[in-house]
């Protein structure tokens, strides 16, 4: 049995909530009503609240076939997530596993290509010449033109 002596309005509000939730016994309800006599406003709220209709009947259930359709849509989306995740995981695992091997292979191939040039092996071409072949610039063209002109 709850003690209703020296009860605050906030506590009374909670007791009213308990009463509306059907948690109080008959004796406790009587005690609550007695305590509410000191608070006419709360007593009126209590009466109004206890008079409220059942909220639970206000919202019915959707037809089960509609729920079934929605559940199927969710399961389809989950299957798609799984497929994407599987692909992602596979590629990440593959990359982690074979990244070193792939790097070494690329290094070996580029090295092979580099050393397979006959000029390089004969020492006839320098590294810079191979990567930055000499180009005759416009200024050099003009300088040789001036040389020719003065000689004439």
């Amino acid at each position: 049995m709850k003690n209703f002596n020296m009860i605050t309005p906030e506590e009374l509000e909670r007791m009213i909530t308990d009463a509306a939730d059907g948690l109080l016994s008959r004796a406790e309800l009587k005690e609550l009503e007695k305590a509410l006599e000191a608070y006419p406003g709360l007593m009126q709220d209590y009466r109004n609240i206890m008079n409220l209709p059942d909220f639970n009947q206000a919202f019915g259930h959707v037809e089960s076939y509609q729920n079934h359709q929605h559940v199927e849509q969710i399961l389809d989306s989950i299957r798609q997530i799984d497929e994407k995740t599987t692909f992602y995981n596979t590629t990440v695992v593959w990359f982690k596993k074979y990244a070193l091997a792939a790097s070494l292979l690329i290094f070996a191939l580029t090295s092979f290509f580099y050393f397979s040039q006959p000029d390089i092996l004969n020492g006839n071409i320098s590294y810079e010449e191979f990567y930055y072949p000499e180009e005759i610039s416009a200024s050099e063209d003009y300088a040789s033109y001036l040389d020719d002109w003065f000689e004439q």
Partner: protein, 173 residues
């Protein structure tokens, strides 16, 4: 990812969906947000984050809090939109539609309207407690509000509902 957890989750969707759908439809009755969209997003988000689910809470309350947070995010996004109902409150199926007398039916429609007009937190609490049948500890877990405060909020919600219904002429002699 834990395959066992995922499999268990997939199997529970069919069982949890109808209850969550009913609760979310009631909660979203006054907004432009569709319960089906929120639930689709909820289950997919939960599936992606199933490893973060702690067994201390029930799967249902975990899903409910995800759904509520997604709905609140949607409310914020659509704040500029005109407040109108996507599912008019009088279009919900009644539990036993054929047997419901006309005067009772009207009362139910008004009751839905009154619930839909409550502020977000009060509406949440009313839906969770009286429509979904959750306990206060479960509601506290979802809302982060302690049980004592929840009971005071529930009192306020019921008081506001009683006033709204009185204004609508329900329960008047």
């Amino acid at each position: 990812m834990d395959e066992h957890k995922k499999e268990e989750f997939r199997r529970s969707i069919g069982e949890l969906y109808p209850r969550l759908h009913r609760a979310m439809s009631a909660y979203l009755a006054s907004s432009t947000v569709e319960a089906e969209d929120i639930l689709q997003e909820t289950f997919l988000k939960a599936y992606r984050n199933i490893n973060t689910f702690q067994k201390q809470s029930s799967l249902y309350t975990w899903l409910y809090s995800i759904a509520r947070n997604l709905a609140i995010d949607e409310f914020r996004k659509r704040k500029h939109e005109k407040f109108r109902s996507s599912t008019p409150v009088d279009e919900f199926e009644l539990a036993s539609d054929n047997e419901t007398p006309d005067n009772n039916r009207e009362e139910i429609v008004l009751l839905r309207k009154a619930i839909a007009e409550l502020p977000e937190l009060l509406r949440s609490i009313v839906v969770m407690k009286t429509i979904d049948g959750m306990s206060y500890p479960e509601i506290s877990e979802i809302t982060g509000v302690n049980e004592q405060t929840l009971k005071n909020r529930m009192f306020r919600a019921r008081k506001e509902l009683a006033q709204s219904l009185k204004q609508m002429g329900v329960n008047e002699p």
